[in-house]
Symmetry: C2
Subunit: 220 residues, 2 copies
C-alpha cells in the first residue's frame, strides 16, 4: 500500500512523457523494483494488464487514483507554526493533490492571531470546535519532539483520523488512526543497511583484489 | 528493512523511559503493527528474544544498530541551498546519528561562495573532486523537480551510493544506488487509502443507522 502512491507518481511522469503503455519491466526499472513485485502489487487490486501486453498508463493511473482516494478532497489542519510549520503551509504541493490546509494552531500565545498565507493562527483550545465545524480529517504535526505525543493525543480525542507527523519521535496512536512519519533520519537509516552491506562486500574484495569500488565510511 | 529504523526509534524511547524488557505486543502497540509481524521482522535477523520472555531492550537496540550500520559515520553532501536546502543544513538531527554534511553545492553562481553554517557553497563543477576527496557516500538532493533527475545522474556518475531525494519526482537510478524519497504528498496519499475505506464503511453505516462517526471528506 505504501508503494501505490509511487506508482501513481511514476505513471503521471510516463503520461507527461507521452507514454501510452508500460511494461512491468519498465515500471520496475523506474521504481527500483522487480517486475514480479510490480505485477504482484498491481494484481492485488485487480486485473489491470494483459499477459505480455503491458499496462495502459492512463487507465492504470485512473484506477489507482480511485483506489487511493486521490479523487477526494481531504480537509487538513496544521499544528505548530515554527520554521517547519511555515514551510509546510507555504509548500505548493498539497492543494493540487487535494490536501487543503484549512486551519493552523499553535500553543504559543505569541503566535496566535498571526496571519500566515490565508490563515490566522488559532489557539489550541479552538482545536476541537474547528476540527468538527470544518470537517477536518487529517492533521499535520510540526511541533517539537517533546510536545508531539501530547498534541497527537489531543488530535485523537478530536477524532482526527490521519496524522502526518514531522516530529522525530515514534508517537503512539490507536489502531483506527493512521499515522505516517516524515523523518529524514529514518529514511537515511533505512539506506545504510544496504550501503553497509556493499561496504563490507567491497572491504572483502579489497582484501582479495587489493582495491575497492569507492569511498568507505568510517566506523564511529 | 524500511521498518527497522522505526524499531530503533521506539526501543530508544523505551530505554529512555527505563524499560528493560518489551514484548512483541507492547512493541506492536507502539508501532501500529501486529505482534506476529514484529516477531517475523525480528526473527529474520536472528534470535533476539525467547518465547514468552520478551525482548531485552538494550540488547535488541544494540543489535539492530549494528545491522543498520548506525555505528558508522556516513559522509554526506547537499545539492541545492534554497529555502529547503538551508533548512536541511540547519537541521540538528543528522550529525548525532552519524550523518555529517561535509559539503554543499548549487548550480546558481549567485549562491556559490555563500557561507551556510560551517560550509561554503561550492559550484557543481567541484562535485566529483569533492565527493572523491572527502569520501562522500550519501547525497541529499533539494533542488527543484525539473532539475532533480539531471542532478541525480551527476551524483551517480560520481559514484554516490545513497541518495535522499526531496524533489517531488520519482527519479531513476541504477540498481546499485539506494534511493529514498522524502515526499509529504506521497505519505499523505498512502494514508488516504485507509481513510477512504473507513469513510465508505461509515457512509454505509450512515445509510443503515442514520449517523456516522465523524466528518466526511468531500468528493472533488
Amino acid at each position: 500500500m505504501l508503494r501505490l502512491p509511487l506508482y501513481v507518481r511514476a505513471l503521471s511522469q510516463l503520461q507527461a512523457e507521452g507514454t501510452d503503455v508500460v511494461s512491468s519491466h519498465q515500471l520496475g526499472k523506474r521504481l527500483q523494483m522487480t517486475p514480479a513485485q510490480i505485477r504482484k502489487d498491481l494484481s492485488y487490486f485487480g486485473r489491470f494488464g494483459k499477459q505480455g501486453r503491458g499496462y495502459k498508463v492512463q487507465f492504470l493511473l485512473q484506477e489507482l487514483g480511485e483506489i487511493l482516494g486521490l479523487d477526494i478532497r481531504w480537509n487538513t489542519c496544521l499544528i505548530g507554526v515554527g520554521r517547519l510549520g511555515r514551510a509546510i503551509i507555504n509548500y505548493p504541493g498539497f492543494a493540487p493533490e487535494g490536501f487543503n490546509i484549512l486551519a493552523a494552531f499553535d500553543s504559543d500565545p505569541g503566535q496566535v492571531g498571526t496571519p500566515i498565507r490565508n490563515l490566522s493562527v488559532q489557539p489550541m483550545k479552538d482545536l476541537e470546535k474547528t476540527v468538527t465545524d470544518r470537517e477536518i480529517v487529517i492533521a499535520i504535526v510540526a511541533v517539537p519532539a517533546a510536545q508531539a505525543q501530547m498534541v497527537i493525543d489531543q488530535l485523537v480525542k478530536c477524532r482526527i483520523r490521519g496524522i502526518l507527523n514531522y516530529a522525530p519521535v515514534a508517537p503512539q496512536v490507536p489502531m483506527d488512526v493512521v499515522l505516517r512519519n516524515i523523518d529524514p533520519v529514518l529514511s537515511l537509516q533505512s539506506m545504510t543497511y544496504y550501503l553497509r552491506d556493499q561496504t563490507e562486500a567491497e572491504q572483502a574484495s579489497v582484501k582479495t583484489t587489493g582495491r575497492g569500488k569507492g569511498p568507505q565510511p568510517a566506523r564511529r
